[in-house]
């Protein structure tokens, strides 16, 4: 009897042990599939005039009204803030990410479209879409340091790390204007393919997306000569349907991501070899891109379907698509 009872008891213990093990596994699994709230995503929505915040699972969304037609955004990590171009209000605002409110406004920036922030020199460079120029602002004093004359419809801007060279693409003109980052003199004009949109620098390479030329052109940042170009061909699409916009590199610069617009795909590229690794189907007319700080997850804004696609960078697969505001333009991810 006793032994039988002991056996029964040990049997129950065994069941409990197995159960608790399974529970622990389940908890571990849950923790794995739903990582702790690690990064926050901010998306500017052109038409609804707000920012949508979400976690890096696309959940826990919060809408914050901002201004008329918010478009380009850039982070100021020291201030834990975001600069936002308010296109139809002719201004740039600084938005505090902790307080979730606007803490500063820079007025008289007509047609503010795209912007970059140079951390070391605390300068903000904003393209003025309808005014064929860009504005350089000292964020501390609020003073305008320079106006840079561009071609028609200036959009993408890139700076060398040292801040010594400024590149600005003019969509209509099919040109990239090069300026001295110190005295703001015009250095050169690079002639590009049709409708240059966004610029991104990798070592001494300037990558330029040509939206209507359906390619990414690569120029040397010293000689300004063209080095190479990348042509896209996802299955089932013709060249004319490939309208690349945003270009993004990971932190090591070995991988590039390009949103292919009307082709509804984002492409992952081996940046050193300039080889296409994978086309990933996303929403309609993807353009804005951002990576999580650990480079593991890519966010792709789909301009015509008002949503954002989350992509697992290592597996090169889409995870899910979440709703945004109306006409999402830019996305920033922060810790």
């Amino acid at each position: 009897m006793e032994s039988g009872s002991a056996k029964r008891l040990s049997g129950i213990k065994h069941i409990l042990r197995v159960a608790s093990h399974a529970l622990a596994n389940t908890i571990a699994l849950l923790a794995f599939s739903l990582p702790a709230y690690s990064a926050t995503v901010a998306i500017s929505n052109e038409r609804s005039g707000n920012l949508v915040f979400m976690d890096d699972n696309g959940k826990n969304q919060e809408l914050v009204p901002i201004c008329n037609r918010p478009r380009g955004m850039a982070q100021n990590k020291a201030n834990n803030s975001l600069y936002i171009a308010c296109s139809d209000d002719a201004k740039v605002v600084e938005f505090d990410l902790t307080k979730r409110q606007i803490i500063r406004t820079y007025q008289d920036v007509p047609g503010a479209m795209y912007l970059v922030f140079h951390t070391a020199s605390e300068r903000l460079i904003v393209s003025n879409e309808g005014a064929s120029k860009a504005t350089v602002i000292d964020v501390r004093s609020g003073n305008i340091l320079a106006y840079l004359a561009t071609g028609l419809e200036p959009d993408g801007i890139a700076l060398t790390d040292d801040g010594n060279l400024i590149f600005i693409a003019s969509e209509n003109a099919g040109l990239v204007h090069v300026f001295d980052g110190t005295d703001y003199s015009a250095i050169d004009i690079i002639i590009t393919n049709l409708r240059p949109r966004r610029l991104s620098i990798r070592n001494t390479e300037l990558w330029v997306s040509s939206e209507m030329g359906s390619r990414v052109e690569i120029f040397d940042t010293n000689s300004f000569e063209k080095i190479d170009e990348i042509i896209f061909a996802p299955r089932g699409f013709r060249s004319e349907q490939l309208t690349p916009v945003d270009i993004l590199f990971n932190q090591t610069g070995d991988t590039a991501f390009v949103a292919l617009g009307s082709a509804n795909h984002v492409v992952i590229i081996d940046a050193a070899k300039r080889e296409i690794l994978k086309y990933i189907l996303v929403g309609r007319r993807p353009w804005g891109l951002a990576l999580t700080p650990d480079d593991k997850q890519l966010f792709v804004l789909n301009g015509l379907s008002d949503d954002v696609t989350l992509i697992d960078v290592q597996k090169m697969r889409p995870l899910k698509t979440s709703r945004t505001g109306l006409v999402p333009h830019s996305v920033e991810v922060f810790d």
């Binding site: 309808g130 209509n172 050169d188 004009i189 002639i191 030329g213 013709r238 004319e240 009307s262």
Partner: protein, 394 residues
Amino acid sequence: MKLHKLILLACCFLSAPAVSNDFDITIITSSSEDRKNSGKSFAGITVKPDRPVLRAVELAVYESSTLFKTLGINANIHQLTLDAERNLDDQLKELIPSSLLILDLPLDTMEQVAQITNKLKLIAFNVRHSDAQLRDTLCLTHVFHTIPSDQMYFDALGQFLVYRGWRKVLVIQGPSEKDTERAKTLLVSLKKFGATVVDQRIFSLSHHPDDRDENKPEFITGGISYDVVAVIDSQKDYGRYLQYSTRSARPVVGDVGLTPASWHFSLERYGAPQLNERYRTFKTGEPLSSQISMTDAEFAAWSAIKLISNSINSRQKGDDLNLLAVLQDPASQVDLYKGTRGSIRHWNNQLRQPILLSTPDAVIAIAPMPKFLHPKHYVDTLGIDEPESQCQLR
């Protein structure tokens, strides 16, 4: 003009002194043309805007100015008004050699002028006439068409109807020869994409009760079943009174209602609002009001100049501007602000481009419609394709 050139040169702030290269553009119009009568026969009201294309050409040059400066090109716009009393050959001999010509002329004069300028080896653009047969009859090396052909317009419409499932079409046309020709073109498009013409009827501009079967909307659209009414009314006379008066509650498309067009003030994507805004405001002394945008003829004239400036981006400073070589290059292209770049069809010198399907205040669709596929080129389901073209230039 000399002074003008000097100023342009002085302002080129870039490195080496740019070699000057003149890019002369001449807009040819006719002194005898009466443009005011359009659409006035039936109701005395003009609805079809008809403006000279000068402003659109000026806009294209304005947009290209930074590039031209960079390449050392001086663009000059000239105008030649043809005197109907004088011999055409004599007048055209006065043209600036190597000038690019924008033919803003009535059809018969345009055809004569194009034949002459082709012999003079001057590049000329037809920016006004969509007549499908012109693409075959005016098959000339130096003549280009940037206005879509009626075949392109109607193929866009045909695709849209079939895409919507509106396959039974009642065609109503005007009595003019032009309307008859265009109706023929429409029928080709409808047949091509699988729509059925349930009847083809001709309206009368008369108000007489005896003609009521041809002039009363309820009668001319009665006695038959259809999904949609397609109207051919080139002069925009009568067709506009058909909407909301059809016997059956059916949409009206064609020259009224949902209309195929190459440009529209309400296109809101692909940078189009910026182009429309610029068109209205770039001439500071002469702003236009907010719903005015380029007509298809103006858009065609703008496209012609932009086709040149968008296709010379691989040139070196000081290279000769050989317009024919630029246009015949398979890589020639133009950003049309419609989401798909335009290019030249090598067989008949027609600019390939997407076609908008729009109501008076909204763009409803942009053709090619989904699922209409072409073996070679995305946009070549619209218009006269290479195998069926009688014109085989290259």
